[in-house]
């Protein structure tokens, strides 16, 4: 299959402007500025069926059309480079290997929505990646792709990167805005949505790195072409990230909608050591786990939702038969308890209770009603918080509890793992 988003990754110095320009880099921007009115550009993006790659899967063109026009207010684009969902490691490599593709995508998005400024919010731990991005932004200014009167078309745009400081909640779009404004990242109540009142209370769009990297290709080759790469309502290719017990972990650019089984066994080389598959978290820790017999599902937002899980970031964590599911669930529960921002009581307290109960089960102190107790807690978190972190904590825990209930109960009854 033709590589699109990762086409430059094998080249030497692929992060530089020189290499990016060699194969038509920034030509899509030129085309967008010359051949498209902003509204027509959004229509073209709508045709592509591109959906947000940060986890929520919102249709990108539709999101762009929410930004009001002609208000005279500043409009901002924020790039979400806060990649922190456990299991997910794709945006990091776009930043390392081809930051100009993301920058060009951001330029195209800004032209479409009438934004004058971009902030790339990059997680604090990405210090090396921020340096590479910083270099790329400088190159783009020098090349006339950022700054005043870009490509002689009267289009102005400034781009800055902004560092996070270690908080998963900053990947939540309104948490990100709070953090950019120099506050703790407590998500905001919606409405108003950021498209209307976002950064500094002005219209703002927040897009994931990989989502933006798709835009140059949509402009260059057309929305319909992009849509046809994927499946119904899920256009394009995707950078899937495989981790855990596969022979060949890593990133694979493949069409939206490929079978999870194909991803694991054909591309990832199957399970390490010839062992049996036990479970897969299909798209980052927030997504409910699947059992081995469920992997004939297509990797797209709709198919995974239909079977009660989520596509998320499209980065599956693969677990073989030697994995203790109570321990895996505890690891995920610990993450959400640690990363709950503390604003909403159900999430702050509930996530911590789930963590504690899983901890006591692991330490041979489980009680007979613990599993039901945790399921109750999940019901009391989900849908009762300002942002989706609480939902994620509940859905992830519930997934493990429902799919591997017998394993939890064995732990409770015998004070040890059935595998030991």
């Amino acid at each position: 299959m033709e590589k699109i988003l990762t086409r430059n990754w094998g080249k030497e110095s692929s992060h530089t402007l020189e290499v990016y320009l060699r194969d038509g880099g920034y030509e899509a921007l030129r085309k967008a500025l010359r051949e498209f009115e902003p509204r027509a550009l959004i229509d073209e993006i709508k045709k592509s069926n591109l959906r947000g790659r940060g986890g929520a899967g919102f249709p990108m063109g539709q999101k762009m059309s929410f930004v009001p026009r002609g208000t005279g207010k500043p409009v901002y684009l924020c790039v979400n480079a806060d990649e922190s969902e456990p299991g997910t490691f794709k945006d990091r490599y776009i930043l390392e290997r081809d930051p100009h593709m993301m920058i060009e995508g951001a330029l195209i998005a800004c032209y479409a929505i009438g934004a004058q400024q971009v902030y790339v919010y990059i997680r604090g731990e990405f210090r090396q990646q921020a340096r590479i991005l910083d270099g790329a932004i400088r190159e783009a200014y020098q090349g006339g792709f950022l700054g005043r009167n870009i490509l002689g078309n009267g289009f102005d745009l400034d781009m800055y990167w902004h560092t996070g400081a270690g908080a998963y909640i900053c990947g939540e779009e309104t948490g990100l805005l709070e953090s950019l404004e120099g506050k703790k990242a407590w998500p905001r109540l919606r409405p108003p949505f950021p498209a209307v009142a976002g950064l500094y209370n002005f219209p703002t769009l927040i897009h994931n790195v990989e989502t933006l990297a798709c835009l140059p290709h949509i402009v260059a080759r057309g929305g319909e072409w992009f849509a046809k790469l994927g499946v119904e309502k899920n256009g394009g290719t995707k950078i899937y990230g495989l981790s855990g017990h596969v022979r060949e972990p890593g990133l694979y650019e493949l069409p939206m909608g490929i079978k999870l089984r194909e991803l694991i066994y054909q591309h990832g080389g199957g399970i390490r050591g010839g062992r049996q598959l036990k479970g897969v978290i299909p798209g980052g820790a927030s997504c409910p786990i699947l059992r081995a017999e469920e992997i004939d599902v297509e990797m797209d937002f709709d198919a995974l939702q239909k079977i009660g899980s989520m596509f998320g970031t499209g980065c599956p964590v693969v677990m073989d038969e030697t994995t203790c599911m109570v321990e895996a669930a505890y690891s995920v529960a610990k993450f959400f308890a640690h990363e709950s921002c503390g604003q909403c009581t159900p999430c702050r307290e509930g996530a911590e209770w789930i963590r504690k109960i899983m901890h006591r089960i692991l330490n041979a102190q489980g009680r007979p009603d613990d599993v039901d107790h945790m399921l109750d807690l999940c019901d009391n978190i989900q849908g009762k918080t300002i942002c989706a972190l609480g939902d994620a904590a509940a859905m992830a825990a519930r997934g493990f509890l429902r799919k591997f209930r017998d394993e939890f109960e064995f732990h409770v009854r015998h004070g040890r793992c059935e595998l030991s």
């Binding site: 990649e83 299991g87 953090s179 978290i281 993450f335």
Partner: protein, 163 residues
Amino acid sequence: MLSDESKARIERLFLHYPDKRSVLIPALFIAQEQFGYISDEAVRSVAQFLELSWNEVWAVASFYSMFFKRPVGRHVITVCMNISCMICGAKKIAEHLKAKLGINFGQTTSDGKFTLLEVECLASCGTAPVLQVNLRYHENLTPEKVDSILEELEEWKNGRLED
């Protein structure tokens, strides 16, 4: 007091935002570099320079995990213990590090060289297990690889390895 150099670095960032407060997180990193951690003096100096209250600055400094609330060693080793790393042997790596350094997570060696911290996912799941030393990645870890990282750090005389 913030040094002139720290102030100059913070001032350059003012140009990027419509208000001073947006510079708070980067300013705290700059202060942390100068003071070694977010001391009371660091909080007060940043607050004064950005015209914020002590509370406003501390609320932010205490929210984010990359701001150290007490002194740390010259090399800060952060180990990912999340799902992909955990199932690929992170516990063994962590135990090896703890035994080798004689400290637990959250502690600093008595000679002030190393601080060991447990962190959340570092976005390096395909090359698990993983750690960072002063924010530099070390991937596909084995106990032997950990040994050579520590040896290299021991030999490094000029402060932080972060370039």
